[in-house]
């Protein structure tokens, strides 16, 4: 589905990723872990076509090289990207947000059958959005905003869903819901690339794990290799972490 080989990316002169290679196989999920500032969001942005731009290496999606393509073309190929911080259009209504997500579908009318069907699916999956379809997105609660962000990305019927820290800033109960949803999407056949911080929750939906540190891949492998949480801590923190809570 997605093959990234030796990707180096930079904001202007400032390099943030070096020789990153990873892949997401069809119908599976890959989780990217890493400490703050490790380059996780930069990696996702580079995949989606936002800055940092690729300076070397290749991004291949569905057998096609998409390295230099504009973001909207990549989305049209079937990539859905849920950005960090519940990135939605706060001044538009819920329904308008969903419609914006559907621009990749054929036709420019808002009422095409495909678009209607996609809307119905979204509302069926997220009843809470159906209730508030006329509400301004900025007025939703944090959890609802995250749901809307995911629903919006799903509107274009993607083959690969990229999520950037969907749990950030959400209460634990809602985090649980979010991961339940991701698990469900995966079961429905969607490939998933996920950047996360809540390792325990993320691992429940992971097939493959990539750890990034300082813009480079520090470790990777199938989730089995990581099933002992202490291994993750070791890679992640660079030492066997003692949970702060225990102090």
């Amino acid at each position: 589905m997605l093959e990234i080989s030796e990707l180096t990316a930079a904001y202007g002169d400032l390099r943030v990723l070096w020789d990153v290679s990873l892949s997401v196989r069809t119908g599976t999920s890959t989780i990217v872990l890493g400490r703050n500032g490790a380059g996780k969001t930069s990696l996702l942005n580079a995949i989606a076509g936002l800055p940092p731009a690729a300076a070397a290496g290749r991004i291949v999606f569905d057998g096609e090289d998409i390295t230099g393509e504009a973001p909207h073309r990549r989305i049209r190929r079937g990539i859905g990207y849920v950005q960090e911080n519940k990135q939605i259009f706060r001044q538009r209504t819920v329904e308008e947000n969903l419609l914006i997500g559907s621009v990749t579908l054929a036709g420019w009318r808002r009422g095409t059958p495909a678009r209607r069907a996609a809307l119905d699916r979204a509302y069926a999956r997220f009843p809470v959005l159906a209730e508030r379809r006329k509400a301004l997105a900025g007025g939703l609660s944090g959890g609802q905003q995250q749901m809307l962000a995911i629903a919006q990305a799903l509107m274009s019927d993607p083959k690969l869903l990229i999520l950037d820290e969907p749990s950030a800033g959400l209460a634990p109960t809602i985090v649980k819901d979010v991961f339940a949803l991701i698990g469900e999407l995966k079961r429905e056949g969607l490939s998933i690339l996920l950047v996360e911080q809540v390792v325990e929750a993320a691992i429940t939906v992971a097939d493959h794990i990539v750890v990034i540190d300082n813009g480079r891949v520090a470790a990777e492998g199938p989730v089995k290799q990581f099933d002992d949480a202490s291994v993750i801590r070791e890679i992640y923190l660079g030492r066997s972490g003692t949970p702060v809570a225990g102090a």
Binding site: L50, F89, Q91, V103, T104, R109, S156
Partner: protein, 288 residues
Amino acid sequence: MTTIWSGLVIGALYSLVAIGYNTVLLASGVFNFAHGQLIMLATYASFLGSVTFHLPWPLTVLFATIAVAVVAIVEERVAIRPLLARRDIHAALITTVGASTVMSGLAEVTAGSDPKQLAIPISNDPLTILGGVIAPMDLLLIIATLAIGLGIHFWSRRSLLGIASLAVAENRDAASVRGIDTKLLGVGAFAVAGGIAGATGLLVGAHTYAIPSLGNSLALFGFVAIAIGGAGSQLGGLLGGFITGIIFALSARYIGSDYPQIVVFGVFLAVLLTRPRGIFGRAMERVV
């Protein structure tokens, strides 16, 4: 009533500029200072079509629409595109002013500074409507402006493309990773704004003649219309233009010509104090 009609005609001109400003502002977040000049060029294109080439009016309108849309696209390519990567509104202010200066200069160099009269397709004998006198072309100008203003307002609120352009205005990057071609939309907005300017060139020029200085006068008063109506609101720009025009006409008629702008300023202050975002501007969200 004649004064009101006169105000409506001038107001229509201002509204057209405001519509042009808003169309570009909403889709690409840029304030296109050169829109007054695009309208000025539209009157020249209509002059070329109607007088020089003796085209029938539908062809003149078509010719002007295409010609000005092309100019607008070129402007976008030269003065806006290079800035997009860095979201810098002040640089765009300068480049669009630069573009407007180039357009004025070129018009002057090629067409001279004297007004040129357009060929008008219909008899322009004044009509008496509701107790006031108005030229038929001017009436058409008012009607066309209302139709375009309302049309584009509802289009931008209802159609998928309109919503998409509002999304781009709110957050470029986020819109692009929803699959929206932001560059195309930006060019599209310029093309639409230029096209509208071109299409109305014949009606505008019938009133104002084709003259290079038209651009600057319109640019300024379109700005006034936006100030009153609220930036980024098509409906606000439309009504702001008409309100400005009527105030201008009434105060020139009853107070004296030193005062129209002062009265408009008074109205602007009143609007500002009661509705800080303009009559139809939206309240911003809290920043904390």
